[in-house]
Symmetry: C2
Subunit: 469 residues, 2 copies
């Protein structure tokens, strides 16, 4: 039943029927009772509110008389259908909420979004089968909230996976599962403390920067060179914690070589600090020898490793994880278990079985081949159509590249002219702290979610609007 709950004011002499009439009228006016809604019957409402049927009747009659509601014989009373805008206004007397709409309504033909992945090869039937199998009453336990840290069976699979794929050494007790990178960073900030400064790569992952800043932490943006974060600049800062993306610097894409990794670990040790290693898409490497994760190189327990299934599987299930060094793991257990697990237990169970039964490694291999193919198509299309007028940056791994476009246009102009041919490309200036003094703007092109057949076409069209106006 539609719950109608006026607050009776016994202090005034206003009769109850008037109060009820005014209340319902107001609710209709502000749109909380919608047109064509059936109102409760007189008998029901009088029982519910503990008032007489006559009071309700009189109130309803008044509303009918004023046209707010109408009676349909033998069916009941209904709120009148009028032009939507007449009734439905914003609640309270405050300013209307300004809707900051992005260009959601604009229809792009090709979207080079770096957060997109290829969905055509997602193993729908396997995932569906595994999901449905968890939704039977004999597994009702999966409907309850699970372990704070994440399900142990899934943590076991993750610990095997990160060792085999990334050389990360850990036991399941060191893993904390959580819903996305930003939530895990919020948790981390609390565990690491907020009194000393953190360093981030500049340019770098802006969402990480926001988390640190919103937590009231002083943040040092540290420049990068061709090997990744600059150790000298890091040393000059007073930061104790550094957030890095060594497997595939975001957004520049370089892979940090061993020498720089060892320097970074040394800085960390001398500084009694921590390294947060965000390994967001290292599954997809196209060139060069594998380089072990910082966590795998670390013997002192100073590295916090972060991984996610958003790139390697699907983003919508929101499964990411931290691998904590032993001393932080202890701290987590002592207090931060008070934070309930944030990831669906059902999804955790499905993913566990997906990994356990070998589907995940099959999927990763398939996707690696697919992305390698797309990567080749992208690079050769750029070579074919705009070789001398552009420069490709960061193309040895991951699901995006940067393109330096040498036509004199600004970043915004490049994006807008691409929009004219319904192609969505992305800025990199948002990842810079302070002014980006590059001579030519850098455009970010994600290719994970673009169909093979569209990549070349997309580059051809970009060449046309960027260079042949």
């Amino acid at each position: 039943m539609l719950e109608i709950m006026p607050v009776w004011d016994y202090s005034k002499n206003t009769p109850l029927y008037v109060q009820l009439y005014k209340y319902v009228k107001y609710q209709i006016q502000i749109g909380t009772i919608k047109p064509e809604t059936k109102l409760p019957s007189k008998r029901k409402l009088s029982n519910y509110l503990g008032i007489s049927q006559n009071t309700v009747k009189t109130a309803y009659e008044q509303l009918c008389a004023e046209g707010y509601i109408e009676s349909k014989p033998r069916i009941g009373m209904f709120v009148t259908k009028l032009e939507d805008n007449l009734f439905y206004s914003v609640p309270f007397n405050n300013k209307p909420i300004k809707s900051i709409k992005s260009n959601n309504d604009f229809e792009y033909l090709i979207d080079f979004n770096s957060g997109h992945i290829d969905l055509d090869f997602f193993p729908y039937s396997t995932w569906r089968k595994l999901t449905a199998q968890s939704l039977y009453s004999d597994q009702s336990d999966l409907l309850l909230i699970g372990e704070e840290q994440g399900e142990e069976c899934l943590r076991k699979e993750i610990s095997k996976y990160v060792f085999e794929s990334r050389g990360v050494k850990c036991i399941p007790e060191q893993i904390v599962i959580g819903t996305g990178t930003q939530y895990l960073m919020l948790l981390l900030c609390m565990m690491l403390g907020k009194t000393y400064s953190y360093a981030i790569e500049n340019p770098g992952f802006h969402r990480a920067k926001y988390v640190f800043k919103d937590q009231g932490i002083n943040v040092y943006p540290i420049p990068i060179d061709e090997d990744g974060i600059c150790i000298e600049a890091l040393k000059r800062s007073t930061a104790k914690v550094v957030y890095v993306t060594p497997s595939h610097q975001f957004p520049h894409g370089m892979v940090m070589p061993i020498s720089r990794r060892l320097e970074l670990l040394k800085w960390c040790e001398e500084n009694c600090g921590y390294i947060i290693e965000d390994d967001y898409d290292s599954e997809f490497r196209y060139r060069g020898k594998p380089i072990p994760s910082l966590q795998g190189l670390d013997n002192k327990g100073n590295v916090i490793y972060m991984g996610t299934f958003s790139k390697s599987l699907i983003p919508s299930i929101r499964i990411s994880y931290l691998v904590l060094p032993p001393k932080l793991s202890q701290k987590y257990k002592e207090h931060y278990k008070e934070y309930k697990q944030t990831v669906s237990k059902l999804h955790q169970n499905t993913l566990y079985r997906f990994m356990k039964e070998g589907y995940f490694s099959i999927h990763i291999n398939k996707m690696r081949t697919l992305y390698r193919k797309k990567h080749i198509i992208l690079l050769s299309s750029i070579e074919k159509y705009m070789k001398e007028k552009t420069e490709i940056i960061g193309s040895s791994s991951g699901l995006h590249i940067l393109l330096k476009v040498k036509n004199g246009m600004t970043e915004e102009e490049l994006i807008q002219s691409a929009r004219k041919v319904k192609i969505k490309v992305y800025p990199t200036s948002v990842y810079y702290d302070g002014h980006n003094a590059k001579e030519f703007p850098l455009i970010l092109l994600g290719f994970g979610g673009v169909k093979e057949s569209q990549i070349e076409e997309g580059i051809r069209m970009l060449e046309e609007v960027w260079f042949n106006k």
Copy 2:
């Protein structure tokens, strides 16, 4: 393939085969390469690492000689199976991680956990059907990450639901979906600011207190009386924000009457502050007239309403929501959209269809009837077995009651003696800030997840261990 990634040290004169041998041996010792694992073939590993097959061969031979690995003819090299503990030790040289295990292994017969719900009546087949229907390639969009604020279709359904059931007035744009109460509170703290003090109920929901304190906020515990939080004490504090559970005070269970609600709103207005109204289980009301939510009574836009599907549906999908007043909603859109959505888009879609197609209201009605029945059985069992020796507190709504037990035992003694008959009951002292000076301890009994048939039996057995030793 098992990825073996030694870091070559070219500075020393140690031959590569020794470095490889030492690396693999160490990985076996610390347990990252597990017993019975198949090692990559010599050819594969030499290709992978870019070293000669002979180097790999010599390293493998040394490992064989020392018994770490063994060759199975025509199959390959395998890590030797030994007693698990011999190899598998904790990584690094740090202290082993202390495992703080709760009594997870202890088998209880009856568990009066207030976080449990009745799962026997969960509509498995409907939920399974709706879930599986989303997992087809023509809906691949559901695998991507969704709107930061939560899916619009679900927010629409929630806005209808909260109005109809709780008199909450809002439009979908004011709703922010998030994974559980604590995450949403973290977001809220950032939006509201942390420079002024927050007030909480004492006793009150400890997880809310932890969030505020971990965010560095000064927290005032405010005593409660029979109507809920004490306005006078609140006025004496310098708090600007107050967190309350007016529909069913946690843990004491009283419903805040209209008069106190209006006083609280007045305090808030005079103080230019905010009220966080946590309406965690108001769906289940057994007595008295419905009282509108604080949000519904508020005309100034000072109330933030919080709701969850953890009690009314299932906890494992982790869907909670905030209803922000317009001024905060604006603030959210301006900056906090940088925080990606934390709830699974797949679950959001399933819930949307579950609500849209009317299943949710059927479910709620069924559960209300069921919990009312359990509630009656619980109260009458207490009446039957331990009437004069106990006192029931907070029994007009929700999924738990408090029981004051007058047998001279401490809270811990009551819990431990219940454990002897395999019944799990819960403390309330954890919800108090400072000393709880009550003459008799209060025990928390949740009944949502206890089977009807077990409630009376549970109370009978508790009477025996508590009063007839």
